[in-house]
């Protein structure tokens, strides 16, 4: 999606309002189907039994955690380079959503870890880097809100988002670079997925559902931020400043 298309907040409000209901509806549908298939229709794993079903939440949320950070970094770059205020709003809107997905991935991962590895938590590269990812989200949000001047806050936080992006490839490739308890990539592989299609289908549906959910949510938050900014501008005019 080109930022120029939606460059002005007014135009953004118009287009986004058209996309939002569709995204919400499709997200709900996909998640419903994905959950049904994942939790009831798909086979249990021959090793893991029913605990494997955590996967249908864990994996998509982990993907979304990475996706959201990437989106945030790209928007931040857009803001810093092209001074496009909407890009900063998009990044700000994405941060808490990404943080939630990260937290969800951590929580489901821990839940899964107890039966699989016999412990809630180990300090290995994958888990640690995901925790770092969560801290980065939190740091971004804290920094953006810490300034009295929201414009400054936005700029500072954008710089941080870009710096923190180095962590994304680390999360992604940590399982390849270090041998850890966590299992290596089995879906997005060069030589094709190594996962049973009966599990792959609901997984992908869930992933699509999560993505659409993100789109719907980010639009709502962006609209709120745009409105907030307008209100502040009006207040400023009213205060005669």
């Amino acid at each position: 999606m080109s930022w120029h298309l939606l460059a002005s907040p007014a135009r953004f409000m118009r287009y986004s309002e058209r996309i939002r209901p569709w995204a919400s509806a499709l997200a709900l549908g996909a998640i419903a189907i994905g959950l049904y298939q994942g939790l009831f229709a798909s086979p249990a794993d021959y090793q893991q039994g029913d605990t494997v079903r955590i996967m249908y939440v864990h994996v998509p949320s982990a993907w979304m955690a990475l996706f959201c950070y990437t989106a945030m970094a790209v928007s931040s770059a857009g803001y810093l380079v092209w001074k496009q205020p909407l890009a900063e709003i998009a990044a700000r809107a994405t941060a808490p959503i990404g943080a939630c997905f990260t937290a969800l991935a951590l929580a489901t991962g821990s839940l899964w870890g107890k039966p699989m590895w016999g412990t809630w938590w180990v300090w290995d590269a994958r888990l640690t880097s995901v925790l770092v990812l969560l801290f980065l989200y939190l740091g971004y949000m804290a920094l953006a809100d810490a300034f009295d001047d929201p414009v400054k806050g936005g700029k500072a936080a954008s710089i941080l988002a870009l710096v923190g992006f180095v962590n994304v490839p680390i999360v992604k490739f940590s399982v390849d670079w270090w041998n850890t308890l966590h299992q290596p990539v089995s879906v997005a592989r060069m030589d094709g997925p190594t996962i049973d299609p009966a599990m792959l289908a609901p997984l992908l549906i869930m992933a699509a559902g999560f993505t659409l959910y993100y789109v719907a949510l980010v639009i709502v938050r962006m609209q709120a931020l745009v409105l907030e900014r307008r209100v502040r501008a009006l207040q400023q005019v009213a205060a005669g400043a």
Binding site: A125, V132, L136, G139, A142, V163, N167
Partner: protein, 222 residues
């Protein structure tokens, strides 16, 4: 530009040495943190040796994190930072000079103190080479990352928490690989791959951090 760079490094080092608040503290701090452990954990040689790499690295990380904040902030508060930003050289150069000065007054002394402290903690001889190599590669990264955090929080109300929150996630990899390098050496493996990663990290930080920090400093001067 090289003249400017040297001038800033020289001044910051002088200030750190004179003021003490920054330079000698760091070593004192480092020494104290490390020597506190035998008190805190008990003097069992094996246990100390076991935790030595971790203690040394955590202490180094803390020393770096705690000291850079002041370098920028003191200059911001007394008006020096705006004059530095007005100097006819790119702000990145200034930032890099400040980072170098910071490293010279924290990382380097730390590097020199580390072997002594390692003896104190009973670290086996096998680990010394890796310890020094890892610190030599890791401490500059810490200074660089710390500079970004310090600069980003210059304009902020709740600076303190933020610095920790911003810097430490980024510093954790340095810590983990620094420790891993030493432990590899202790268990008879080669520390090389870990040191390679630390070098990669340093190069990455060197390429990114000064720009980010310079941008953040500009923001604070507004």
């Amino acid at each position: 530009m090289i003249g400017t760079f040297a001038a800033i490094v020289g001044r910051d080092v002088t200030l750190a040495v004179r003021r003490g608040g920054d330079a000698a503290t760091v070593v004192a701090f480092f020494v104290v943190v490390v020597t506190l452990f035998p008190f805190g954990v008990g003097p069992e040689p094996n246990l100390l040796a076991r935790i030595a790499p971790g203690v040394l690295w955590v202490a180094a990380l803390l020393a770096a994190t705690l000291s850079l904040d002041r370098v920028f902030r003191a200059d911001l508060e007394d008006g020096s930072l705006e004059l530095l930003a007005l100097a006819p050289c790119p702000l990145v150069v200034t930032v890099l000079a400040k980072v170098l000065a910071h490293w010279l007054t924290t990382g380097l002394p730390l590097l020199l103190a580390a072997p002594v402290l390692a003896i104190l903690l009973n670290l086996p001889w096998d680990g010394f080479e890796a310890l020094i190599g890892a610190l030599a590669l890791g401490t500059p990264s810490l200074s660089l990352i710390g500079a970004v955090g310090a600069a980003l929080t210059l304009g902020v109300r709740r600076a303190g928490v933020l610095v920790a929150l911003l810097v430490l996630p980024l510093a954790v990899p340095v810590l983990t690989f620094g420790v891993a390098a030493i432990e590899a050496a202790l268990t008879g493996q080669t520390a090389a791959p870990h040191l390679m990663i630390l070098s990669g990290f340093l190069l990455g930080a060197l390429a990114l951090a000064p720009w980010a920090a310079a941008a953040a400093v500009r923001l604070a001067l507004d």
